[in-house]
Symmetry: D2
Subunit: 126 residues, 4 copies
């Protein structure tokens, strides 16, 4: 490891850093929200518009798995909480010349709502 | 103070306790959400439907003060965060025979987003 | 139901309303926090001191169920999230002449982290 | 822009993506927490241990600006909420062969709690 010539921070670095921020924000702001079937559409829309408001976001798609909400509904109180496992998110982040595609989706094998980098586009036209 | 005959817990007690839960939930779940002008409507709707999903809620009205959002928009990044001072909330909670009306609104004199009990109705018909 | 002489709002009403606010706040601020075994003590302490900072709180006790944390730890990533079912909370709220004891604890029968009023003391000495 | 040979996702990409997740998580999980002077130490410690529990975190340092907390304390209720502007965070994230240093700090010029990449180390020894 050499620190003498540390790597210059690139658009690609910043695009990925910003993409991570957006998914961390989305998850920890909204997971835990009370939710019933009737509120799925408005929650999806609000989360999308909230994350879209943040810098460098070109697009964001949020889907809340209706079947999982139904499966988790408390029978006495007839609602549940938004859980990470219910979320299916795709976001596109652009930082100057670089566009990255990231996602958040339940990975059943890992039993974990996994955030990952799906694709990177460099040298995009301004 | 006598503990020998502690007061029995009434519908009124439970209605007020539940009303407090709803306002505390609303505030601490959603304050901090990234928000821009374009996302105000969807955020209001999502919060309303989320809190309405909880037990004992008869109605809930959420207004986000557009002027305050505009005033707080960061000029570089063109968004802000939902703050308690932007919220104007009214909720009606019913527990069996008792209905309570509560609200959350910025109290400028106290410089505090104040939650308060506005009205209590007892012996309501089932 | 008569609105002609609506009930006057009492210390007892306010004590219960405030107690509800505290439990709603605690739940929706901290549920979802990343947590590992090593962080249980500091999380309990931080939540206690945070809720104690709020108005009308005489005391608050927060216990995070270590066994449930262990049971939920993701085997690949070695941590989990704070869930409502892990929380055991007792709080004492005083509003002028009235002191209320409330709690949050997993109710296994209801499969729900239940918030409830445990005791009310009236006419306490100032 | 060519999609024919999309860039391979590297350790560096993942390190930065993960670093962003951690800062987004920290911010949106804990901002809004009720806080008084007495609770600063325990909150700093809890946040540190919470974020440290997440994958790929080598170290995390959290400082809450005491002067800013004091300045924001509500005079009637004697507490405030944790705000992004009060946070001074440094985190080191490692993904295989790459270590990145990131931070969150109030940028007074931008009037914004800025998250940024401070340094990248590549080809570190395993």
């Amino acid at each position: 490891m050499k620190e003498i010539n540390p790597p210059k921070i690139t658009d690609r670095d910043n695009a990925l850093f910003e993409a991570g921020i957006k998914l961390g924000t989305l998850y920890h702001q909204y997971v835990g929200s009370p939710i019933a079937i009737a509120g799925i559409d408005s929650m999806e829309k609000a989360i999308q518009e909230s994350i879209f408001a943040q810098p460098y976001v070109e697009s964001v798609f949020v889907e809340i798995d209706k079947k999982k909400v139904i499966a988790e509904i408390n029978e006495t109180f007839m609602y549940t909480e938004l859980k990470g496992s219910m979320l299916n998110v795709r976001a596109v982040i652009r930082f100057n010349t670089v566009r990255v595609f990231v996602s958040l989706k339940m990975n059943e094998k890992l039993n974990y709502p996994l955030m990952q980098i799906d694709k990177i586009e460099e040298d995009i036209e301004k």
